[in-house]
Structure formats: structure tokens, C-alpha cells
């Protein structure tokens, strides 16, 4: 079982994830239309690039724009959730070892176990609060669907199982297998669900940034995100 999960299934899920995301990016860009979207995408490369970069950058910085500042509580949850979600799998000591031994990549940075634990717990707490927020706030409840909770389950499962694998020696094998399976499910889900915002966030933000940069006043004044 372990060999299957860490061998062909791991490779398959990584390839499906990356291949699917590449397909998403190509499909998105091919589907842009200057006439339908009413943005002269290619006519003003400098304004377009600047608009796109600003639009992405201001949303990557906590409290970097009016939107984040208007909702400080959610902003904190959002960043705690996403920082853990991205940083822990990429830089966890145990994962970096796999990279080194499996692919011979020796230069990849890693984080200490304590940092990984802290970020994981922060991420899981944020996920819990995000789930409560979905039910508690009427303006979020009305747009929330079961699908939104499913995505929270898919994204938190690798962290919950991984945390147990790292800290509960008794059932180590079970938790480890569950963790690998959960991680692979998440990888496969990314391109096929709303999780494709892994790339979609950048594409969509870049698009609106180009819209503002090229058409909606960017040649006169930078938009105050």
C-alpha cells in the first residue's frame, strides 16, 4: 500500500495537478477576447503589465488594499489559512527529504518541525473559523453550498492526518497512509475544482488589473486598490 501511494499514485497525482493547471492557464488565456472583454490586452503592454502586477501584488499583501482593510478579521483568517496551506507542504522537513532522496534536489529550503506545527495549527484553526463564519454570517450563509464545505474538508484533511502522523506514534502507519492519500486527493482536486484558483487567482486578478491599467484609467492614474 505504502509503495503504491508513494510511487505511481504520487506521480500520477502530481502530474494530473500540474498538467491540469497548465491546461487551465492555456484555456483561460486563449479564451480572453479584446472585443468581448472590451480590453485592448495587447495594445499597451507596459500599462497592461503594470496594471496586472499591481492588481496581484496589493492582494498578496495583508491589509494591502481597501478590501483587506475593510475586513481585518477575515483577512487574518485568510492569510493564516493560506500561508499554512502553501508553506507547510512545500517546506516541511519530511517532504524536503523526499525531494532530496527521490529527485536529488538538495538545495530546497526547509522549515523546522516547530514552525510547521505552529503553521499547521494556525491553518486548521483558521479553517475552523472560516467554516463557522460560513454558517454564522447571513451574507455568507446565503451563498454557501455543500461544495464549499467539501473544499474545506479536502484542503484540511492532509493537514489533520499529517499532524496526527507526526505526533501519534501509536497509529503512525494508518495516519501516514491517510495523510498521503489525502494529499493526493487534494492534488487531483486542484485542477478540477474551485481550487484551481491556485492559478486562477493570478489570472483573474491580472485580467482585472489589465482592465484598469489599460482601459479604466490606468494611463491617467494608478488604481488605488
Amino acid at each position: 500500500m505504502y509503495e503504491l501511494l508513494t510511487g505511481p499514485l504520487l506521480w500520477a497525482s502530481v502530474l494530473i495537478c500540474l498538467g491540469g493547471l497548465i491546461f487551465r492557464v492555456i484555456q483561460y488565456i486563449r479564451g480572453l477576447s479584446w472585443q468581448l472583454d472590451r480590453v485592448a490586452y495587447t495594445a499597451y503592454p507596459t500599462h497592461g503589465f503594470k496594471g496586472a502586477a499591481r492588481s496581484i501584488l496589493f492582494w498578496l499583501i495583508p491589509f494591502g488594499n481597501h478590501g483587506w482593510r475593510a475586513k481585518p478579521g477575515f483577512t487574518i483568517l485568510f492569510f493564516c489559512f493560506h500561508v499554512g496551506l502553501v508553506a507547510v507542504p512545500l517546506f516541511l522537513e519530511g517532504h524536503v527529504v523526499l525531494l532530496r532522496e527521490g529527485l536529488g534536489i538538495g538545495w530546497w529550503p526547509s522549515m523546522s518541525m516547530a514552525v510547521a506545527d505552529f503553521l499547521t495549527l494556525l491553518m486548521l484553526t483558521a479553517a475552523g473559523l472560516i467554516a463557522i463564519r460560513r454558517i454564522a454570517l447571513p451574507e455568507v450563509r446565503i451563498i454557501t453550498t455543500a461544495y464549499d464545505f467539501l473544499l474545506l474538508i479536502i484542503t484540511t484533511a492532509p493537514f489533520i492526518t499529517g499532524y496526527f502522523a507526526a505526533h501519534q506514534a501509536a497509529n503512525y502507519e494508518f495516519w501516514l497512509l491517510a495523510h498521503i492519500a489525502a494529499g493526493e486527493i487534494m492534488l487531483v482536486a486542484i485542477p478540477f475544482t474551485k481550487l484551481y484558483h491556485v492559478v486562477g487567482f493570478f489570472l483573474s486578478r491580472a485580467q482585472l488589473g489589465m482592465d484598469f491599467g489599460i482601459k479604466r484609467g490606468g494611463k491617467k492614474k494608478n488604481f488605488a486598490w
Binding site: 478590501g67 451563498i143 488604481f223
Partner: protein, 466 residues
């Protein structure tokens, strides 16, 4: 009855059709017929196939349902935080639902289409504020505008806007102002101003002028003094200017209606005038949506790949900024406004066309230091006046519009200002209506009358002493 005699999928093509629609007071018959109007599913599906591409599809599919758009929407706030006013909910239950049904081959019924119409025209003013509060940059104003186009094509459009887009189709103006009416109004206004401003002219169809001026049909139709004021200010600044006999109408109710073909017809009339008269540049009047229609969106309707009109085309506030900062128009500092004054940022050229700084500099010239106060929020993040996107003009949604005005009312009340400077027709109308409705004791003004009041008139332009 699938197609009504008044309410149907056909655009207005003749003056007779337009008159028949106008004769139906408040659209009584029109809305009655709408209740049994059929939905053409093939047409809807083919529209999605041809026009629903990656940007809009991603917006619809990727929405994380986080609800951050809720508070960004003034209509949500002003309607007591009704969850049904959350922008994401509004678009998902309308455009999102139409797309889902079309894809699953489920029928779209008349009732859903009327719900879509009510939502697209009375729960969104296409102010685009939500777009800057969504982490993904999902701009529901853009999507509602797209939805309006789909609804228009199916005949589900408010009566006034079917008339409005019909006006553009028949008269190339949002009102029944013919070329003769327009030219006569120009002559009349020039004559009226002659005594006070010797030598003032309103030159029609002058080729190669420095400036071609375009306006809003309501100016010649209802307040021609606005045209006279524009002429006085061009006269005062020694501008070599002209107006075209055709192609002078800058607005586009067809944009509010979602009648894209009429949008193209209208804007091409203006661009033809530019090509014909070859002015160095074009200046539009103090109107937000006119600027958006003819300068920002228009080039795309006309298929212009560079996204620009045929000549540089600026908004009136840009011209005012230029003549004030270069000293071509001098204002008497003693006449500066000395009552507490605020300024209404128009969505269409502040949020959506980058002029926030220039307007503030104009305010420095007009208002005595210490008497200018900003609304909160302001600039790119200001709220819609409450009447944008056609909301002001639709009788069916007047009660909802009046509720919407409360947002601007409260913003103005919080400033304590007694004067609101509003260089946008739509905002100006909304502020007038909110004063009528709620009587908060304010005055409101375009820039032109204020500038004329304060201008220092050079001796050679003054009338000869009797």
C-alpha cells in the same frame, strides 16, 4: 402570446414603433405582455456559446462564496443588509442560473427572466465597486451589464430603456432631438448670450477646429443654458471650437439597456463626426456615463482595436483642470465658495477612468480653503449616487431607487456640507431627487455655472459700455 405587440424581442426600428411604445403610459400594456413573453432558448444558448468566454466563466465558476462583496455594495448596506442583495448572490441566482440551465438543457421560464430583469436593473447600478473588493477581482458590474445584454435580446428590458435605446436607433440621441432641433438650439443659445458676451459663437460643423464638443441630449432638450454655459467658457478661454450637426450626442441609454447594436450605431455617429470634422481633440460634457459610453467602452463597440476613439477625447473635468492650471481661465479668489462644500465622485470617470486627483485640484480653485470636505468613502471607492446604470430613469423601480438614494443622503449629511458639486448628469439628477425626497437642505451644481460665476472676464470680452 409569445411575442407582444409592444414587449417583444425585436429592437425598435421605426418611429411608429417608438411612438406606440411611448403612447403606452408607464408601460402598462408592455409589462402585462412581458408576463407571457417566451424565452428563446436556442438564442440564449448560442449567445453563451459565442460570448461567455474565459473571463466571465471564471468569474462565475471560481467565486469562493466568501461574501467580501457584501459590504462593498451600497445596495446591500442601504437595504438593511438583506442577504439577497449580496452581489455574489445576485449574479449567481441570475446569470449563473441561466448558464446552469442552458448547460443542463433545463428550460428557463418567464418568471426567472423577470426576476433577472428586476435584479439586473434594480439591484445593480453597474458601479463596479464590488470588483475592487473581491480577492479574485470578480467584477459583478461587468457581469450585470453582460446579463442586461442577454435580457434585452430576449425582450426583458424595462420599458423606459427599450424606449431609450429606440431613441438612439431612430434619432441617434437619447431623446427625440433632430439635427434641425439641435442646430436651432445652438443658434438660439448663441443669440441669447450675445448681449452679455459680444462675439460669442456656437460654430457648427467647423472643420479642423482645436476642439469638438459633444453633450447629453437632455441639455438641448431640457436645459439648453448648459450649452450656453459651455459656449461662454470656450469663449472666455479663447478656444477654437465647434459642435457637429450630427454626432453631437455623447450619451448611450442603449448601454444601460444592453442593446449593443444600438450602442455601436450611436458611437459610430460620433466617431463619424470626428472623422468628418477632424478636430484636434474632443471634449465631452459633465456626464459620467456619456464619457464611459463614448470614450471608454465605445471604441470597443466600434471594433477599434487600440481601444481609443478616432481623436483624443477628454472629459469636461480634464478640460477644466487644464484651463485652470494653465491660467487660461482665471477665477476671482474673492468669489470662491464659502459654504461647506463636498464633491460627488462619479463611478464612470473616477473609479473607472482615473480622474480623482484632477478633480481635487479643481476644488482647490473653486472652494475657499477650509470649506471643502470629502465624503467617506471617496475617490475610486466612493459609492454610486444611487441612480446610476439607468436606475434613475425606470419608473417601475422608483421605490427601490428612492431607498438607494439614502446611501448618498447619509454620506452627504455626515459631511455637513450644504453644497454638492456634481459634474455628472446622473449624479446631479440623483442628488436633486434625494433633496426632493428627503429634504436635507442642500444645493447641488455642475461645474459650468460655478466657473462662470467666478471667472475673471478680460476687458476685451466685456460688453461695450452703454
Amino acid at each position: 402570446m409569445p411575442e407582444g405587440t409592444l414587449c417583444n424581442k425585436k429592437p425598435i426600428q421605426t418611429k411608429e414603433e417608438l411612438d406606440a411604445l411611448l403612447a403606452d403610459k408607464s408601460g402598462k400594456v408592455y409589462y402585462e405582455e412581458m408576463k407571457s413573453l417566451d424565452v428563446d432558448m436556442d438564442k440564449l444558448k448560442s449567445a453563451f456559446k459565442n460570448t461567455l468566454k474565459s473571463r466571465t466563466r471564471t468569474w462565475l465558476d471560481m467565486c469562493a462564496h466568501c461574501g467580501l462583496c457584501a459590504d462593498s455594495c451600497f445596495l446591500y448596506n442601504v437595504n438593511k443588509r438583506d442577504p439577497k442583495q449580496v452581489p455574489s448572490y445576485k449574479i449567481q441566482t441570475t446569470l449563473g442560473e441561466l448558464v446552469r440551465r442552458a448547460e443542463k438543457n433545463k428550460p428557463v421560464d418567464n418568471e426567472l427572466m423577470r426576476y433577472c430583469m428586476d435584479t439586473a436593473w434594480s439591484k445593480c447600478t453597474c458601479c463596479n465597486r464590488c470588483g475592487s473588493y473581491c480577492p479574485y477581482g470578480i467584477d459583478m458590474g461587468v457581469m450585470f451589464s453582460y446579463l442586461r445584454g442577454l435580457l434585452y435580446a430576449q425582450g426583458f428590458v424595462p420599458w423606459e430603456l427599450k424606449i431609450g435605446s429606440g431613441m438612439h436607433r431612430i434619432f441617434r440621441a437619447q431623446m427625440d432631438v433632430t439635427t434641425e432641433d439641435w442646430v436651432e438650439t445652438c443658434e438660439w443659445m448663441a443669440e441669447e448670450s450675445e448681449d452679455e458676451w459680444p462675439g460669442l459663437e456656437i460654430p457648427v460643423d467647423k472643420e479642423g477646429a482645436d476642439v469638438m464638443y459633444t453633450c447629453n441630449a437632455r441639455e438641448p432638450k431640457h436645459y439648453p443654458e448648459d450649452l450656453a454655459e459651455a459656449a461662454i467658457l470656450f469663449h472666455l478661454t479663447g478656444e477654437n471650437w465647434t459642435v457637429p450637426s450630427t454626432g453631437w450626442e455623447q450619451t448611450s441609454l442603449s448601454m444601460f439597456a444592453g442593446d449593443w447594436e444600438a450602442c455601436r450605431m450611436q458611437v459610430e455617429t460620433v466617431y463619424d463626426a470626428i472623422e468628418r470634422l477632424q478636430p484636434k481633440r474632443v471634449i465631452g460634457t459633465e456626464c459620467g456615463h456619456a464619457h464611459r459610453a463614448t470614450v471608454v467602452e465605445g471604441p470597443y463597440w466600434a471594433g477599434r482595436k487600440d481601444g481609443n476613439p478616432p481623436a483624443p477625447y477628454i472629459h469636461y473635468v480634464e478640460w477644466v483642470h487644464e484651463v485652470l492650471t494653465t491660467g487660461r481661465l482665471k477665477l476671482d479668489p474673492a468669489k470662491r465658495i464659502k459654504v461647506l462644500t463636498t464633491y460627488q465622485d462619479s463611478c464612470n470617470y473616477i473609479r473607472n477612468h482615473g480622474m480623482a486627483d484632477k478633480v481635487r485640484e479643481i476644488m482647490d480653485y473653486l472652494v475657499e480653503p477650509g470649506y471643502f470636505i470629502e465624503m467617506t468613502p471617496n475617490r475610486e471607492h466612493n459609492y454610486c449616487c444611487g441612480g446610476g446604470g439607468g436606475f434613475n430613469g425606470v419608473g417601475k423601480y422608483r421605490p427601490q431607487r428612492n431607498v438607494a438614494l439614502k446611501c448618498k443622503r447619509d454620506q452627504i449629511l455626515a459631511t455637513g456640507a450644504k453644497l454638492v458639486i456634481s459634474p455628472c448628469h446622473n449624479c446631479w439628477d440623483a442628488i436633486r431627487d434625494l433633496e426632493e425626497e428627503y429634504k436635507i437642505g442642500i444645493k447641488w451644481s455642475f461645474l459650468k455655472p460655478l466657473l462662470i460665476e467666478m471667472a475673471i472676464v478680460p476687458d476685451h470680452l466685456k460688453p461695450a459700455e452703454e
